[in-house]
Amino acid sequence: MKIYDSIFRHSIYKFLCAFAALSVLLTPMISQSQQETPPAPSQPRPARFPSPVERTLPNGLRVVVIEKKDTPLAVAQLLIKNGGEVDPPALAGVAQMTASLVTQGTATLSAPQIAETIEALGGKLESGATWDASIVNVDVEASKLNQAMTILADVVRRPSFKDEEIERLRQQTLDGLSVALEQPGTLARLVAARVIFGDTPYGHALTGTPQSVARIKRDDIVRMHTNIYRPDNAVLVVGGGVRAEDVFRLTQNLFGDWKKPNETLSSTPVASMTNSASAVRSARVVVVDKPDAGQAAVVVARKGLRRSDKDFFRGIVANSVLGLGYSARLNQEVRIKRGLSYGAFSSLDARRDVGPFTASTQTKNESGAEVAALIVGELERLATSPVVEAELAPRKSALTGNFGRNLETTEGLVNFVARLALQGLSFDEINRYVGNVQAITGEDVRKFAGARLDAKAANVIVVGNASVFLSDLRKRFSNVEVIPASELDLNSANLRRASPNAAVK
């Protein structure tokens, strides 16, 4: 049976299984005649997480293994510690293209041969760039891991970047963009990134724009690969039904002779964008008028924090109160109380440098302004009124529950550990995570929201049929900028294409 043919009560988050380190007592029901109260929970059993072990090869490649003995599967993820943030400004999307192309041919194997070989094993080989990282991932039965990792090593080390494959990917990317840019939600998130980060590295679209993708040349891709795909800028994380010693031996065979270039690894280019987000001018209210949009996408966004920020746990707990999961405030106010959306959520994407805070939803065009005001109002409330324990404890449970469920699958475990390695954090964080969350108080949340999520610095982006919400929006917000979708330019912070006349001048 295929679940994707079905329709769900709420959109499916990225986690699918459960966690149980917590015991939160149920609020007793008000007992009326003949009403039953639910049976109380018994004592919880503690959850245990596997511990990663690691070695660093002489060439600088860091190898991390997580033995998970009860699974017949294995996942090997090679993480390059740079991604979209190192795209040159005019070449948005080059890190993404580079990562996508590594699986499309090596010195000895064509793209079809790579796919045939991996898929004959029943495995999946995927690659792509994200912010701060480029990832090549293989997912296969544990008994077939060494054949799969042989391919993984080949594609990472010896991609051929054939012109034919570059042109094929360019066309696929352009086609993909033409679809993505029709989605009001995608468009709103891309506009939000430009509004928050301006022309600094996190401001552009990870997959580029039709204009930048058209400009990318083979040399740009080869340069990107040479600069960032090197053993001293990489981490290999392998998890599942494997033995650490076997993986270390295999890794030595496959990656031991991967030469570290003589040039030192330039300190990551992203370091230069420190606090770039704060340099951007004051909050904007941007409407992208898309008359044929089936819904209005509403995004409230501002700069968030770095993963290394001392306030990270205060931040994620504050976000969990506001917009993580079904029962957080945004979904309560927008969906459950008012029926204005299928779901309203927020996220605090902590990156190597300051990442975005984003609250987003989709609603019928007519309610675009009302929903934008509701979200901003919730941001204000978080900063001004205290969060009581009866609300805070369940939100913290939702957060730690997600964390635990993520670690139940091999893929989730590898992703989490790879993320820690990428950010240079200790693996002890796996065992400290729940305690760190639990330590945050309601007052911490309020203070964090006041200092770091101030609604006055939040940008509002609405993409939809402006004719039905614009006058309402102008009543609620000042300085509303309206950009017709046909004039939207994602290549610059200005967001507006120069008019034809200006181009002539």
């Binding site: 039953e36 639910p38 929970p41 029943g122 066309q171 009001p184 089936g294 204005l340």
Partner: protein, 456 residues
């Protein structure tokens, strides 16, 4: 295809791929562990399937109701799905959203989905909450007392869901068209999400009737997988579920049969937010319980799983006609659909996409697939089953779907053997049997700008 595999084997050896590298030698076929479940039936007809696994302190509970979108009342398209949302509102003993208090608030999660043939509610919780959730599931099976304001507010949510899936998403409407145009008389022709007018027509009285008619113990298969003690689970299920009476009325069942198709039918639709033309071709196929189902699943995998699949290789990679392709053996309790799709690459014609899809079907009909290609498909299906079964919820899904859609929970354990038993001749036979020109419906879903221009 065989040739490139052989070629790679040779290269692999020259690259120094030595036996010593092998982490464990993979000899012969890999096994998918049997699900050692237990099955019992309560006197009121409720079926319990349970699988004890104490390796993590969590448990998954799934309640499968044999009622789906095909059971939407006349003039109430979308009702079964709307009803599913309402099952999270008031009951005799619970306030609205109490289920969220018992799951999300304690580190668990819940969700529910409505498909053509069934509605499934599930919770994944710390195992010390198992009894609490069994009580809650029994409570909403026994009674639902949603009031009018809650009903209307949740109906608005479903209308937003419709707008998000169907109106705001560029190819959302194509999914609806596939259902609407593929069936002529069977209620499968009404998409599960419904439409705004019929959702507006629904009343709270419909809600009561629907609960009375379909939400009864003899229409339930409950699956519990995870950290519990079998005797304790059985006792709790007896305590909370056995007291719910089985109604005297017989359960209404859809008996209408979709007739075989006798000639090709073609449809063209346009929409403003469609950037690239898309083609969908559907064929009627037999029910999930049919002996041909495994061969159809293998055919689906050969056609569409991964970049080595035939559709990707031909339409996307070699001919560069399509941006995206897909094949879906949508097996149902009754007559299902095999759907082929291609979203065209920029500047390519949907007519060419359609012909390219037919060329791949013809190849499957004229030549048997090689042993290597067949074994690749089986390996892909095995790995995907292993992935699904890594979690308690995934195991419960496998058992529930075998029990409810195929009518027998043990099919969860024989599925891989049945897939392995499929031969190249079987694949060729089902390709010839079902993929005829007269058994197809063709839908073109095009940008508004192409109106009046196609065929030029």
């Amino acid at each position: 295809m065989t040739r490139s595999l052989v070629l790679y084997a040779a290269i692999g050896l020259s690259m120094g791929l030595l036996a010593a590298n092998f982490i464990s030698t993979a000899q012969g076929q890999s096994a998918v562990a049997r699900l050692a479940y237990r099955e019992r039936k309560l006197p009121n007809g409720l079926r319990l399937i349970s699988l004890q696994d104490n390796s993590t302190p969590t448990v998954a509970i799934q309640v499968w109701y044999k009622v789906g979108s095909k059971d939407d009342p006349e003039g109430r398209s979308g009702f079964a799905h709307l009803f599913e949302h309402l099952m999270f509102k008031e009951t005799k003993n619970m306030k609205s959203e109490m289920l969220d208090r018992l799951t999300e608030d304690v580190g668990g999660e819940n969700n529910a989905f409505t498909a053509d043939d069934m509605t499934v509610y599930y919770e994944i919780v710390p195992s010390n909450y198992l009894e609490t959730l069994l009580w809650a599931e029994a409570d909403r099976l026994a009674s639902l007392s949603v009031d009018d304001p809650n009903f209307k507010s949740e109906r608005d949510v479903v209308k937003e869901e419709y707008r998000e899936r169907v109106l705001a998403s560029p190819y959302g409407k194509l999914g609806l068209l596939i259902e609407q145009k593929s069936f002529t008389v069977h209620p499968y022709r009404r998409p599960g999400i419904g439409n705004i007018d019929e959702l507006n027509a629904a009343t709270i009285d419909d809600v009561r009737k629907f609960h009375d008619t379909f939400y009864r113990p003899d229409n339930v298969t409950m699956v519990v997988v995870g950290d519990f003690d079998q005797k304790q689970l059985d006792a709790w299920v007896d305590r909370y579920f056995a007291r719910i009476p089985k109604p005297a009325a017989t359960l209404p069942r859809v008996t209408i049969k979709e007739p075989s198709r006798t000639s090709e039918r073609r449809y063209v639709e346009y929409n403003k937010n469609v950037p690239l033309p898309a083609v969908a071709v559907t064929y009627l196929i037999p029910p999930a319980s049919d002996a041909d189902a495994p061969a159809l699943q293998v055919a689906e995998t050969i056609l569409s799983e991964g970049e080595s699949s035939r559709l990707y290789r031909a339409l996307v990679y070699e001919q560069q006609l399509a941006a995206v392709t897909g094949a879906n053996a949508d097996l149902r309790e009754d007559t299902g659909l095999f759907v082929l799709q291609a979203t065209m690459a920029g500047g390519k014609k949907p007519e060419d996409g359609e012909q390219a899809l037919y060329r791949e079907l013809k190849r499957m009909q004229n030549e048997t697939v090689s042993p290597a290609e067949l074994s690749k498909a089986i390996n892909q299906l095995v790995t995907s089953q292993l992935r699904e079964r890594e979690t308690n919820n995934g195991k419960a899904l496998a058992l529930g779907s075998a029990a409810v859609v195929q009518g027998d929970a043990s099919r969860a354990n024989s599925e891989i053997e049945q897939l392995r038993a499929v031969t190249a001749t079987d694949v060729q036979r089902v390709m010839r049997k079902y993929f005829s020109d007269t058994n197809r419906v063709v839908i073109f879903y095009l940008p508004e700008s192409m109106r009046g221009k196609e065929g030029e």
